[in-house]
Symmetry: D2
Subunit: 373 residues, 4 copies
């Protein structure tokens, strides 16, 4: 970065002088590319350099992403998370979501390698594979992907292609709290779902019920053909019933036991509360934070999708094999390995602004700044 | 665009004077946004403007993409396609592949609409739906997606949500030759697969067989444990067998009858020929053209994937419904609606450069420039 | 957008049924492309369609950007801007900053038109020019670019290439408050620069002075060569002096009179206060808002830079003319037409966290949430 | 990359088994980040990790870009460049132009570091500076930027901030042929500017003259007001005169001596020939290659522009200093350090397709494939 003397406001006391090349350890970084194709007996393949550097760039950025994810987990591992720290966590997640598009764009680079050029050195790399990226596994684990949810390729067991050292590291990662877990706990602690005689879930159920009752009333009074009306009434019943599972502890737990839900009912309510009342100052950053989690999930999914496409383009699939191998597996995991889907799915419970239950004054006040104090 | 007098090399003879606003019909374009939410009785929703303009921008670009796809189909509908025209077709496809990333990025824009903001005006738009985009359907049809391959949502019949006019237009689109069809015919006419006593498929099969025989020989002479050797020998057999379907007319036709293949065997061979001999001057543009088709297919898939994510984020999915509705359908079609997969899959038949059969001189000469002539 | 029945939580009462094509006025939008090159007597130029549609897409998005800028100006035109509204303004600015990259990417599309292809129809468009985009002018004016600051091309007077109607509209735009103006007023009203006997500017000047005094002390006690020490002492004096203009009303006004400053001294202090204390809950969104203004300025600059490059590529410059015409003008304005530079320049006054003066308790409390209340 | 057994067509003979982590030297790459801020006595700054990794990612990609630039220079250093190799050079340049947008996007990442966060560790890095990136200098030198053209910051001499080792390496880079130089030589050797009694420059001058004569004739016969006609006649004279410098050896050399031109007259004619006859098969790849050079130049300029913006945002500029320091310098070099401007400027000499002189049959035949041979 340019160094302009007039802009330094910091102590002139000299630390050790730094030099760009040494500070960044460039002698190390820029000499860590060894092309196997250029070894004696092999045929040098120009594009192996691109292959190496692209993968190294990925791993560098994975380190950065893991570093930020770790910081966010650290923040939410505190028992009380100060507003300042929520903002910091949002800031780090936003950073990750700026890194991800660059990682996604890097596929545009690697795809300038023709499949033919890859074929020229592919056999030298045997049996190394991108499946062996420890950091990518640590990232998915750190976000909250559980081993049981992971779809493994070709029936292989978890981490089967890692060597012992990487396998140990991957298993160790599963022992730490994931981002998903600490977020859930933070959401569950949110103290705004009840306030004196106000209960968020009751208030919401009531307005939803009134909203649908009004619809039913209008329909009964309309002069449309009877069967059309009945169809619409049935639809309303179904839609209203859709709210139930979110507010009925028993139904909710049944679904959880089936393994379909990651969030607890209380955490889900907290998400919905934040979605509905996001304009209150105290909830502005939390709402943006939840949005960052959704975007992170989406970015990971896009990365996996692009990765699947790249693999497909490079190694193809023989006729008659149904493209069943790597490609289909990777395409399938693109979406399935998301971990925050229940946050984005909460949109399904939103209602238009005019129907959202007003908060009692005392509660509203807690969510606002209070200049008189 | 800036207008600098020194750079005009064209007739000074005056055509009708053009004015930016009139030339672009901006009075029309910029007054075609009607917010339903601002009608009497409704509650004005600021974000409806974004919703309208984003969709209009999509449709404008779809028109452009259709225009270019039409031009490419026109080029390949000729009986003899001059090299100049192949280059032009490549140029137009490259243009489409520059438009697509912009269309994909537009999701970043629409996603600045919060799900809550969408909920505020969503009911006003009932039952309009992005499924009703005629141009997007025409595009998929124009590329070569057949009605039978289209996965429809919720068992609905083809085009069921279009009105009669759009349905007619969509059906009409199916009557024209698709890009896939004209490309196949062009590939089938490629005159280089046989040359005097040289037959590409035979030559290739031979070197592949020799390649694997050499592997077998080395294995038999190795002093590795016997069962490891057997495993590798089995693997070689399997891999070699994988070549068969591509060169065995009967097996190939059987697969075609099952509906799994869009390309004929001859067209597939032409693709493989172009992939292997892409460095010959005559094949340089055709190879780049095939790559553009793969990228177009990929870009369409990414667009559909991002679209699925956007829908999911905006409308979510209620707990217990398994997110089974729009989202899963859209995610599934993202990859399944690709039409040029067999071109990218041909990579599976590539062999390292040193094994590629040399072309006979007479044939090679046809593929090169001949300055002596 | 996909329409999945289970996710509607809104009144079933029927509004007028909407159909995608009619709602978006596609019959209008998609029939507003008239290629002059296809008129009788002209030679049809395929790429004119791209030229038209790209410009229309730009104008569509300019409308959206103007719509959002207008909303933000509206918010900050209020005498008291509620936190909720500051967050909304941030949200709209963030949206603009997601639109801008798409507008910048659109140059990738138009640049697929070869200069030769443009030459084929360029004379038909005479003398229409992108300089005639009213909306782009309105945008620059709305952000705060003053006529006096605008560098006009070739000595032409302001708006000289617009017709009367557009000229009137452009002049009218100058009569409204700009984003810059309303932001300055909002910053000036910020009530945190003084609190009882705490004055932000004094507190900051003091710590800065102490910081440099400590540096001087260390230098005087060091055993480095005397002239090196003197050089560093001079540097410290110079750096400290650099703080003066920001806190000295007379010096500041002198610079303002020279026309170099857009922000008042008080507004500048408010920016610096927000930069330094951005972690306090009340300042989190304002800080992000200022960052959005910087990014908007940068995005506009990048757009202008890319535009300049595109023009240069399309129409070039004859040898010996020094490329002096359109290109150099446009390159020059890319950065010079920024309006929020003083916000990004405030970074020059930042000091490391450990030196930032602590706020008095009473003031700090105003900037935090107060759950006990 | 995924490793799917059915898609390997290569020798099963075992090379040394590769493991992902070892092949990519990840133990080296991922342990080369040392945060100075975490040393004893310093205050740890979270964002220093981002700072290090971003710069390392830049340097990794610079290595790749230099690798490709070197390969292209190698290709054009041959006395006869086979078509196959021109295509390969185009391929590598296209790759660089896919890398550049990623490098440009990386500014989005580093800009998530707030200026405040940078201030917290900036003094520890003293006096290291991005100006010390040897590879970036090597890249500019390799493309063809000459020391005399380089605008140095603050009157500093060339490379003044590099240490001796880097200075030596930078000087060594200037001793090799640059991409610009080898391209010029290749263009000068192009054998199509004369063919028997056809001379490209004469043929072009003739049609241009006829074109303008026809314009003059039409004007003289028009019944417009006399002074308007005279104005247009003057304009035509001026435009026609603009062609002169390109075709008049004396005028051209005069401009070259002034140091304004990098290309020789013959090389310029070759560029124009390729631009005008780009549809001939032999010129398709050369035309695309020239376009890649223009895009590379533009991408470098955008990178420098974004870099200038980033520096400006991070360190700002104190009031009254006029922002004169790093920012203005960097902004200025963004465009000035381009080296292929004369290629894009050639667009100024293009004429509409119907006026382009037809090539004599013998010459045209050389530019086409000849299937009868």
């Amino acid at each position: 970065m340019t160094d302009s003397p007039d802009s330094k406001n910091t102590s002139a006391f000299k630390h050790k002088d730094q030099y760009y090349r040494d500070y960044l350890q460039l002698d190390t970084i820029l000499n860590a590319q060894h092309m196997v194709s250029s070894e004696p007996g092999n045929i040098e393949a120009h594009d192996e350099m691109l292959f190496i550097i692209t993968h190294q760039a990925y791993e560098l950025w994975f380190k950065q992403v893991l570093f930020e994810v770790g910081a966010v987990i650290g923040i939410f591992s505190q028992e009380n998370v100060a507003e300042k720290d929520v903002a910091l966590a949002h800031h780090y997640l936003n950073r990750i979501n700026r890194i991800m598009p660059v990682l996604i764009s890097q596929f545009d680079i690697i795809e300038t390698m023709t499949p033919g050029a890859f074929t020229d050195f592919r056999s030298y790399l045997n049996p190394a594979s991108g499946f062996q990226s420890l950091q990518f596994r640590q990232l998915e684990i750190g976000l909250g992907l559980r081993a049981a949810e992971r779809r493994e390729f070709g029936g292989q067991t978890f981490h089967s292609r890692l060597d012992q050292r990487d396998r140990d590291a991957a298993h160790k990662a599963t022992e730490h709290a994931s981002l998903l877990e600490v977020m859930i706990k933070w959401l569950e602690r949110m103290p705004f779902l009840e306030h004196k005689d106000f209960t968020f879930s009751e208030a919401l159920k009531n307005v939803v019920h009134e909203m649908y009752e009004a619809d039913r009333e209008r329909l009964r009074n309309s002069d449309s053909p009877a069967d059309g009306i009945q169809q619409q009434l049935d639809q309303i019943d179904k839609t209203e019933a859709g709210f139930d599972a979110l507010f009925d502890a028993e139904k909710f737990e049944a679904l959880r036991r089936e393994g379909n839900l990651r969030l607890s009912m209380r955490a889900s309510h907290a998400v919905l509360f934040i979605f509905l009342y996001k304009d209150y100052p105290l909830l502005q950053i939390p709402y943006r934070l939840l949005t960052q989690l959704i975007e992170l999930d989406e970015n990971m999914a896009i990365w996996r999708f692009r990765h699947a496409q790249m693999v497909s383009r490079m190694i193809g699939s023989k006729i008659g094999t149904g493209g069943s191998s790597g490609h289909s597996y990777l395409i399938m995991t693109a979406d399935k390995h998301r971990v925050f889907t229940e946050i984005s799915n909460i949109s399904s419970y939103l209602i238009p602004g005019q129907f959202i239950p007003a908060l009692p004054d005392g509660l509203a006040k807690k969510l606002e700044f209070n200049f008189e104090s």
